[in-house]
């Protein structure tokens, strides 16, 4: 437990975070495009929007239990990187949808009309003008959601994280170690907690650095795109 470093935990957290992005980004961006560009503004879409806002506020442990029921048991993924990644993906989905929708809404009507006036169809306008204009906002939202996923413990607790593994996950159906859970174990579950405090603190620092790095990437991506084709 205290030997051999925390590389497996760093690896596990990175892997599960990437998987959650693969789930949340396409689904969330697609959903936001539909809601903002295609769906009629009626009672149903308003209801859906309100539900998405509410989902963003659901405690993460609820997502964890939902993940156990749906991914681990019903879909038969077992406790695995895949199940945990899907659960984290669901957790971040609402915020990806909301930030993407916000970014799409901020694309001026006049810019869209410019494309329509040149003979672009609805989808061509969305694909070639609206989405590229909204990229900085969308990417920032996705990366911030990702950094939140990296720090979550509750959703992976029952869906895939392991107390201790001797090997790195060889496939997405293996269990894995993750930084937040490793920290929890080191701080509460060890027989000599006082002695391994430094290890726990180091794990905490590593997790914070990882999240900080992700946020920094978000910041960098945003400024890079802003400089390129947006008003200074």
């Amino acid at each position: 437990m205290t030997e051999g470093g925390i590389f497996p935990a760093i690896f596990g957290t990175t892997l599960v975070t990437l998987l959650s992005t693969l789930v949340a980004a396409p689904l969330g961006i697609g959903c936001a495009i539909y809601l903002n560009e295609y769906a009629a503004d009626n009672i149903y879409t308003r209801l859906i929007r309100a539900s998405i806002r509410n989902l963003a506020g659901v405690p993460s442990i609820v997502y964890g239990l939902f993940g156990v029921a749906i991914f681990v048991q019903w879909m038969g993924m077992g406790t695995s990187v895949l199940a945990a990644g899907c659960t984290l993906g669901l957790l971040t989905l609402p915020s990806v949808i909301t930030t993407t929708e916000e970014a799409l809404r901020n694309v001026p009507r006049l810019t869209r009309e410019g494309a329509f006036a040149l003979g672009a169809t609805k989808w061509e306008t969305v694909r070639t003008v609206v989405l590229p204009s909204a990229v900085p906002g969308i990417l920032t939202g996705v990366i911030l959601a990702l950094s939140r996923a990296a720090g979550e413990t509750a959703p992976i607790l029952f869906t895939g994280v392991a107390f201790y593994t001797r090997y790195l996950p060889g496939s997405v159906f293996d269990t894995f170690m993750a930084l937040p859970y490793h920290l929890y174990v080191l701080s509460t579950q060890h027989h000599a907690i006082e002695e391994i405090r430094p290890l726990a603190y180091a794990t905490a620092l590593t997790l914070i650095l990882l999240v900080f790095l992700l946020n920094l990437t978000a910041f960098w991506v945003r400024s890079k795109y802003s400089n390129k084709y947006h008003m200074p």
Partner: protein, 252 residues
């Protein structure tokens, strides 16, 4: 009377229950500049946007009557709107370049409509920029973002973007309202040049502008077409009391 390019017949337009255009009939002469003047809210922009079916974007808008472009009714349900908008280009009130490079802005309409091969693109982009007097100013910066241009340059870029797809008609919705006098003068010079190739229809608030560039002028008031004729006649010897009061500046 010159040969007409667009023939508007008994056009009515409603937004929900509100009637915005009332029984408009107007023939827009080919190869000329026609100005639409009138006080704010009289429906001139609305009329302009009917001619390339921009109202399709507002579900509440409903049109009746006919708009004949070269003797084809473009309001008919099975009109190919994409083709129509390629034939009837539009320049907006505020410059609205895409957040792309100058080159990509001009190439946009060509690419989306598959109008030319990739090899031909640079040539077409250059000729559109030359036609809009922008080439000399931007030829070394084609990869720069269009948003870095000045307001006047952006508006000429939007005109270049519109003419790149070789339209037959160009609609301009108060194209100079956001520009300074020098940029305005350049755009007006450009309009006069474009008249050689295209039919232009221009909405303007500026009566001096209408007199400087337009061959024909239509005066609208509260959704109705009050008077239409040669610019000198509309401003010099208007046939209607209302027109006289407006062009003499008694209201508006």
């Amino acid at each position: 009377m010159d040969h007409s390019k667009i023939d508007i017949q008994h056009l009515n337009l409603f937004f929900a229950d509100k009637q915005v255009l009332k029984n408009i009939s107007l023939r827009i002469p080919a190869g000329k500049i026609t100005a639409l003047i009138g006080p704010s809210g009289c429906g001139k922009s609305t009329l302009l946007r009917s001619l390339n079916r921009m109202h399709d974007l507002s579900p509440q808008a409903r049109l009746t009557g006919k708009v004949m472009l070269d003797n084809v009714n473009i309001l008919h349900g099975n009109t190919n709107v994409v083709n129509l908008r390629r034939k009837v280009g539009m320049v907006f009130q505020k410059p609205n370049p895409f957040p792309k490079s100058i080159f990509d802005n001009i190439a946009y309409g060509l690419k989306i409509n598959d109008l030319c091969s990739k090899q031909e693109l640079p040539e077409r982009v250059e000729s559109s920029l030359r036609d809009s007097f922008l080439w000399e100013e931007v030829k070394d910066d084609l990869d720069k973002s269009a948003l870095e241009l000045s307001g006047g340059q952006q508006q000429r870029l939007c005109i270049a973007r519109a003419i790149a797809v070789a339209p037959e008609v160009i609609l301009m919705d108060e194209p100079c309202s956001a520009l300074d006098p020098i940029s305005t003068a350049k755009v007006e010079e450009l309009m006069l040049r474009l008249r050689e190739k295209y039919t232009l229809l221009i909405v303007t608030h500026n009566m001096q502008q209408a007199q400087r560039v337009a061959d024909y002028t239509a005066f609208m008031y509260l959704g109705e077409l009050i008077e239409f004729g040669e610019t000198e006649q509309v401003f010099g010897a208007p046939g209607q009391e209302l027109t006289r009061n407006y062009v003499e500046g008694h209201f508006g």
